[in-house]
């Protein structure tokens, strides 16, 4: 459903793995484009799939920029 909506609008939700910002960027299914984060210019921009990601590990916050404890 979300995919269909995205395809219709020509944009999709992305997350910058460097600065953590979430953004709407142009997106055409199947088309490979050079993308960059408008905030930090990183190309590590990952498309967020409709399902929310579950926590990576117990006790580890998978959000970018989060500090981790338990060394």
């Amino acid at each position: 459903m979300a995919d269909t909506r995205e395809a219709a609008s020509g944009t999709a939700r992305f997350r910058c793995l460097r600065c953590g910002s979430e953004l709407m960027l142009p997106y055409t299914p199947g088309k490979i484009e050079e993308r960059s984060c408008p905030n930090c210019e990183s190309n590590s921009v990952r498309r967020l799939k409709p399902e929310p990601a579950k926590p990576a590990l117990p006790g580890i916050d998978s959000r970018p920029g989060a500090r981790h404890t338990g060394e």
Binding site: L17, I32, S44, S62
Partner: protein
């Protein structure tokens, strides 16, 4: 042109379209569709008897519609071959209504109304792409009134008006009333160095074309008042500054500023509203005629040509060269060369220089008798190949031959050595020479042998990101010294297993870096890198490893600052990865490896 037409070793095919190109350097197979000319070029003496009787009139394309031609015509006086051509779409004799007057009038009987189109096939060793460019159409730049105001013309239209062989025999006149203008304004950079609908790049030829036109005007009609509106004048060629100076001496008025609007004056002239940026004031200039110095742009067919020859387009739409400084004539595909504006805007001198270079490159290549292969090409290990065809799909050079059910085969003369096929092969059936899996993994292992948790492993492509590291070093830019670089020819060579091995050995962060999409030295191999990294982000997340630990960056060789900044930012991420997280990652990957082995055993 005449020399080409007469040369015994050159076969000139006019009215021809390349439909298909297959094969590779030294053995290209080219299929050409040639439309019927309906005139025998060996017999036609261009006497013009046929033209006199032809009843059909059409706008003359060469004179940009300012004159008319017949259905049978010669494109322009110096056209080669020097023979007439019957445009079948315009001719009455080829339609149901029979005309045939031209055939009757031709004494030598060299007109054949029934001549069919031809499909030809050639085998050639090298190809030179010289498809040229087209002028920007200023119709959509509404503020200049082109198409609405008859006395606003393009530089090309002015060229035909001022030409002694043109529709007015060299008399410069206004389209509105046929009278000679007393004042002419040239507006520079129309469709160049601007926002859409224009193009962002410099047209290269417009400044000097305007200076030349201004000189022509002043030489023939010194009383005509000539004004040139410009952003800046680019007279950087040999003798060009002298031409510019001479035009100033003859009274050409150069005004720095591009008109915001051109409108019709009440008494029939044209008024240009312009901010004079030298004097810092808004001015009105009244003239009789305006010439728009339109920029150039890639031909509309460039995209289909790109697909036909597996070439790459620059972001501006021109064909991308193998290397902008060291191989400006070569395409990324071996055996294909560029001449002229197909590769970028250039003037006649530059086009001739490039054409000579392209011809020399093609001759050097084809006269050798053999073609040396790159040292780092790929080859298929036939015993391991499952004939799945994945390598064929990702090869940017179409260097891999494959038939269903048979092992793939890499044509060594065509392979450029990007290694994308080796990274894509799930069965490790492709050997990327000099950059084998064993060699790359050995480098990863050596890099992470000591205190891996303090390091970031960087896969850097030879041409751009690795060179950007050099640029950063030469520029003495500071960045943390915790990054260890592993060089590959192309980022497309970086396999998932290389990245996972780095994580398995305790790397907190991995960066895959390569050329920007427009700069990829292997046509488009880095698109596969992006696909692969995107897949791996998903997989890492599924396994419980943060995707934020794998970064992807496109850094060009000139972007030393970007390289340094990227390393600084990645170091911040690295510092946040704990020993516990690294240990957990190792455990997860170990389990994944075991599961993979189990799955393999179970078939």
């Amino acid at each position: 042109m005449a020399d080409v037409g007469r040369h015994p070793n050159i076969e000139l095919l006019t009215l021809a379209e390349v439909r298909q190109v297959s094969g590779h350097v030294g053995e290209f197979k080219v299929k050409v569709h040639q439309r019927a000319r309906h005139v025998d070029v060996r017999e036609c003496t261009a006497c013009g008897d046929c033209v006199k009787v032809c009843p059909q009139l059409r706008p003359d394309e060469f004179n940009v519609g300012a004159a008319q031609r017949h259905a049978i015509y010669q494109a322009f006086p110096q056209a080669v071959p020097a023979a007439y051509y019957l445009e079948s779409a315009d001719c009455l004799g080829l339609n149901p209504i029979a005309c045939g007057k031209c055939a009757e009038a031709c004494e030598k009987k060299c007109i054949d109304l029934n001549e069919p189109d031809r499909d030809l096939e050639f085998e050639v060793g090298a190809i030179v792409v010289a498809t040229g460019m087209e002028a920007f159409d200023p119709f959509d730049v509404r503020e200049f009134g082109y198409g609405r105001l008859p006395d606003v013309v393009t530089a090309m239209e002015f060229e035909r008006l001022a030409s002694s062989g043109g529709p007015t025999s060299g008399e410069v006149v206004r389209f509105s009333d046929g009278r000679r203008p007393h004042s002419i304004a040239f507006v520079q950079c129309v469709g160049s160095r601007c926002e859409p609908p224009g193009n962002p790049y410099c047209g290269n030829i417009c400044c000097m074309n305007t200076v030349k036109d201004a000189l022509v005007l002043k030489d023939h009609w010194p009383d005509i008042d000539v004004k040139v509106f410009y952003i800046d004048l680019r007279a950087f060629g040999k003798g060009f500054e002298e031409m510019l100076r001479r035009s100033r001496q003859l009274g050409v008025d150069y005004i720095r500023g591009i008109p915001g609007e051109i409108e019709e004056a009440t008494d029939g002239g044209l008024v240009l509203h312009v901010e004079n940026t030298e004097l810092g004031r808004v001015e009105k200039h009244k003239v009789d005629m305006v010439v728009l110095a339109t920029g150039v742009q890639p031909r509309a067919e460039a995209r289909s040509l790109q697909h036909l020859l597996s070439l790459q387009l620059h972001t501006e739409g021109f064909l991308l060269e193998a290397h902008p400084k060291l191989q400006p004539v070569d395409s990324p595909i071996r055996g294909i060369f560029y001449a002229g504006c197909a590769e970028g805007p250039k003037d006649i001198k530059e086009s001739v220089t490039q054409a000579s270079a392209a011809a020399a490159r093609a001759i050097r290549l084809t006269s050798q008798g053999s073609i040396p292969a790159e040292p780092h090409t790929a080859s298929v290990i036939e015993e391991k190949c499952t004939a799945c065809g994945a390598c064929v799909r990702v090869c940017p050079y179409k260097a891999i031959e494959w038939e269903k059910g048979k092992p793939a085969h890499v044509v060594q003369a065509v392979c450029a050595g990007c290694g994308t096929c080796a990274a894509e092969c799930r069965f490790d059936a492709i050997l990327a020479h000099k950059f084998t899996d064993e060699q790359l993994i050995s480098q990863v292992e050596a890099a992470l042998a000591d205190r891996p948790e303090e390091k970031t492993l960087v896969f850097a492509c030879n041409w751009c990101s690795y060179a950007a590291g050099d640029t950063a070093g030469i520029s003495r830019l500071q960045y943390p010294a915790r990054q260890v670089l592993v060089r590959t020819m192309c980022s497309g060579r970086v396999d998932e297993k290389h990245i996972l091995r780095a994580f398995e050995l305790g790397a907190p962060m991995v960066l895959v870096s390569g050329c920007h999409f427009a700069d990829c030295h292997y046509i488009n191999a880095n698109r596969q890198t992006q696909k692969r990294v995107e897949r791996l982000w998903d997989r890492l997340e599924q396994w419980g490893i943060r995707p934020e630990r794998l970064h992807l960056e496109w850094i060009s060789s000139a972007q030393g600052q970007r390289f340094a900044k990227t390393m600084q930012e990645i170091e911040k991420h690295r510092a946040r990865v704990t020993r516990r997280e690294i240990a957990e990652t190792k455990r997860i990957l170990k389990e994944q490896r075991k599961a993979k082995v189990r799955a393999k055993k179970n078939g």
